[in-house]
Symmetry: C2
Subunit: 210 residues, 2 copies
Amino acid sequence: MPNRKIPAPTVNRLSLYLKYFSELTSQGVEYISSGQVAEKMGLNPAQVRKDLAYFGKFGRRGFGYGVEQLKQEISKILGTHRQWRLAVIGTGNLGRALLMYQGFLSRGFKPVAGFDVDPDKVGWELDGVHIYHFDELEKVIKSQKIDIVIITTPKASLDGVMERLKGSGVKGVLNFAGKHLLEAEGIAVRNVDLAIELEQLTFSMTNKES
Amino acid sequence: MPNRKIPAPTVNRLSLYLKYFSELTSQGVEYISSGQVAEKMGLNPAQVRKDLAYFGKFGRRGFGYGVEQLKQEISKILGTHRQWRLAVIGTGNLGRALLMYQGFLSRGFKPVAGFDVDPDKVGWELDGVHIYHFDELEKVIKSQKIDIVIITTPKASLDGVMERLKGSGVKGVLNFAGKHLLEAEGIAVRNVDLAIELEQLTFSMTNKES
């Protein structure tokens, strides 16, 4: 698989390229040069050429890169050429924000269920998405064909939630619970830590000031 | 400044090292080897040694790295050795979740104000943080000494918000508004796009499956 050789920082940039190329196709732009991509995205042109070279020989001298073809190729590599069905476990402020996040559906991620243990939350619908009791987790994952679970529970509940997810059919977990999770057997994990976003920002601020 | 030479992927990992080293010092661990760091964090030991080499010669043969010293050095580089005062503009579900996010204060980020235009939200307190009308933005940024603003408004409001922030004294913006912002003069910007977190997850899932 050529995918395996793509370095992590390039994988990070793939999402940014995909977003930009999607904008371009919706504007009817057919070809773009690596220099234009670099300028628009604030990257080094040599880096852009190196990144785009992972997807094959799409550049045509004098024309640039075919935007639609690149877009489709990156979608396939990221796995976003299909739709994924999401559930959110924990429907506090953050969980509800994620269930109703406007940026998911257009990118191929469809929220279909929420889970909570709080009787005040169970039974509600948010933008047409039902909140189930956590006791029904395995049953609903199967009936709703849920691929990905977003966890926003308190830290203390995280291990218990992961135990229930093993063997449930869920293939990926996005973890907002504030405690680092390693990959579980058969389940890919990505840890989100919002304080890291602020630390990366203060790194830029500190270097800008000095 | 040596900081300027640190490559972006290393800066990304600095936050992870900082978190791990903070855990270790709270457990009373004084020294650690690059092999142990690599194993715990799922990284390559050579990469860890290379990353840590950016902060100077802290490794002592037979002892490993001095955890406290590394932690302080990384904090200084990231700019988290001091406390930063935050405001959140837009107090919908996501904005409220961020104002009350448990993971910020312990990492040096103190939410001190919220802003909204909705009369149903203005005037409330969330965990002791007052929600002001957006009209009062510049005044409150000065009186509350706000360094960083987190934006969770709709996309359409983003340019207007940025215009108001220029010259306000704010030095950094964390942008959740779902539209890419470039650096403004004097204001560092970091764009957060939660769909990217899901795309990076489906990349791992797709490669795992194949």
